[in-house]
């Protein structure tokens, strides 16, 4: 037996000997510098995709849901697939901002602002699909309990209604949480920007923040409470999304494993999306000292863990189908692996179960280019997971006479492509006008921010700082 045990050393959170001032200028000056030409090019591309989304929605509303590839057994197609996919991506932001905060994972400070922004924009993209798929969008307000002359109330027994409450609560709470985190950093921009208009606008949203300790005490309390509220919230949202399927009687959907399996899948795809965006952004904006390779390694470990959980669930589903003894269940799972949509099933298996296993190797975990590649593979895999679940179960239901093959139309495809326009338009605006890293939070995890690192006269003790950095480097 090993006689001595050492903790795995924590990597230093901020690299490159930064002071508080250099952190401020590294992050805040991104917003204050003149807009780079590349930004305009990217923004133009994103806007044209957004325009595509708007025209597809307009066409859909004008013509009706018949323009989608839905048919008689397959009443749910790309709309629900895209909805679940986008909501799932959003979950990583809340996981990073709330759950990692409760677990005192200080490394989250480098990526939480970024990931929360991703959450909000992903939920916006997701929210479009349930809204437009209803057919008569002009009466969408019927989903809310609004008194009306028809005495018509929403059905509180329906998982689809739960979903309305879950997703709108999730969006609102994520937005509030994000804004609370932004207030001190907006004050930083207010105090740094030279132009009068900019000062007014940032000043307006900074609410007159002074950084007073009396305020910080309430602020930190609010932050902790919000983290505590968001943690069960994020778990509930994907649980309720999975209820849309699991509460029905369709073979392949009607299982109790769905909530945990959906939540794991959501975190899995969300972390991959954070990596995709972060690897590009930290290169362009030169923030590698804060968003370090160690962060990527930690996220890769989370991807590996959640990927394995998802893989376990895929295999467990087969076991349960067999063990249930229900013919329809057994049949649908065999069809998934060997039937018409087997190609989608095996794409999913490869992308979600096999590909993250490469991260057992430390070398690959720390390889940035490879991480970028896998992060995209994972999101393709997660899209196919939702496709497999939705389409295979519906296209071959209980009655063979009603079976039909599902294929999307060009409207389905272009609407999905268009949501990337919405996502990237919002994301580029965020990168341009808001600090992409939580400046105040990053400062608070640096060694010189901690009172313990100073002696009784208020002089920094270099040995203490060195001791930390030495283990850490």
């Amino acid at each position: 037996m090993a006689s001595s045990y050492q903790y795995v050393p924590e990597p230093v959170l901020v690299k490159g000997n930064h002071s508080f001032g250099s952190i401020t200028s590294m992050v805040a000056d991104i917003n204050l510098r003149p807009t780079p030409t590349a930004w305009y090019l990217a923004f133009g591309a994103a806007l044209s995709l957004l325009l595509l989304l708007f025209s597809m929605i307009a066409y859909l509303i004008w013509e009706g849901t018949g323009v989608w590839g839905l048919n008689n057994p397959v009443g749910w197609g790309w709309a629900i697939i895209n909805f679940v996919w986008w909501v799932g991506i959003g979950h990583a932001g809340t996981l990073i901002s709330a759950i990692l905060f409760l677990f005192r994972q200080d490394w989250r400070t480098a990526i939480n602002r970024f990931a929360e922004a991703m959450t909000i924009f992903a939920v916006m993209c997701a929210g479009i699909f349930p809204a437009i798929h209803v057919g008569r969008i002009w009466v969408i307000y019927w989903v809310f309990p609004i008194p009306n002359q028809m005495y018509m109330w929403p059905n509180f027994n329906s998982p689809l209604l739960w979903d309305v409450f879950a997703v709108s609560t999730y969006f609102t709470v994520s937005l509030l949480f994000w804004f609370v985190g932004l207030v001190p950093d907006l004050a930083t921009l207010r105090d740094r920007i030279k132009g009068r208009l900019g000062k007014k606008i940032y000043g307006f949203f900074a609410l007159g923040w002074t950084g007073s300790t009396k305020n910080w005490v309430n602020y930190e309390k609010a932050y902790m409470i919000l983290a505590g509220l968001s943690t069960p919230l994020v778990l509930s949202v994907h649980t309720i999304v999975s209820f849309d399927f699991a509460v029905s009687l369709i073979p392949g959907w009607h299982t109790t494993i769905f909530p945990p399996y959906f939540v794991a899948g959501a975190v899995f795809s969300g972390f991959a999306m954070v990596e995709t965006l972060m690897i590009v952004a930290r290169k362009i904006y030169k923030t590698k000292d804060i968003m370090t390779d160690d962060h990527l390694e930690k996220m890769n470990i989370i991807i590996m863990v959640t990927g394995s959980m998802v893989g376990f669930a895929y295999i467990m589903e087969f076991f349960m189908a067999w063990y249930s003894g229900v013919e329809y269940e057994k049949f649908i799972f065999l069809q998934r692996a060997t039937g018409t949509y087997a190609w989608a099933y095996w794409t999913m298996m490869f992308c979600n179960v096999v590909s993250p296993q490469v991260y057992w190797s430390k070398k690959l975990r720390r390889n940035v280019g490879f991480t970028f590649f896998i992060s995209i593979v994972v999101n393709i895999g997660m899209w196919f997971e939702r496709f497999v679940i939705t389409v295979t179960s519906l296209s071959q239901d209980f009655l063979p006479s009603s079976w039909d093959i599902y294929t999307p139309t060009w409207v389905d495809i272009l609407t999905y492509v268009g949501t990337f326009g919405l996502f990237f338009t919002m994301f580029l605006l965020f990168l341009r006008f808001l600090p992409m890293i939580a400046i105040a939070e990053v400062k608070s995890v640096m060694p010189q921010a901690k009172l313990d690192y100073y002696d009784d006269k208020g002089v920094l003790i270099p040995e203490k700082v060195a001791k930390e950095t030495e283990v850490l480097v």
Partner: protein, 185 residues
Amino acid sequence: MSTQVVASDNKLFGILAEFENPKKLALACQRVYQTGFQKFDSYTPFPVHGLEKYQGLPESKLGWIVIVHALMGFFGALTLIVFVSYIDYPLNISGKPFLNFPAFVPVIFELTILLSAFGAVFGMFFLNDLPRHNHPLFTSERFLKVTDDKFFLCIEAEDSLFDDAMIRSLYEELDATHVENVYED
């Protein structure tokens, strides 16, 4: 230490001192608190953990605001759903009971969280007197650095122990890097 005295007709808000690191600020806060000052506050670019103890600040009351909102969310949602599905228009859906409590859990839960989050965010703004865009400290040029890398302490003129000369010598003793008077705008 640099000092700056600007004559002004406006009412004096307080005397502001700048410190170079959080620990010096904490030690200054401790001294000011122990001297018996009541109306003073420190200002930092980020939350300095433990500073509130040096300053003798009580625990935040925000939790009480949130629990009240949580209860409002819980009972409000319960009342809404029971009114809608049982009292106003009971509708038989697949023979399910009208008071189908397990099915009501998700919406009640979501609304409890939603109201609590409103309580946490707006309660925090309420306790902090935000939004307040016209703080007297914003008249100080040096104070722009409070959101960057400088640490400030301000003893307000309304304090009963307030004494210009005494505070200035106290600040000097505490190693402040800059001292100035701040006037109401």
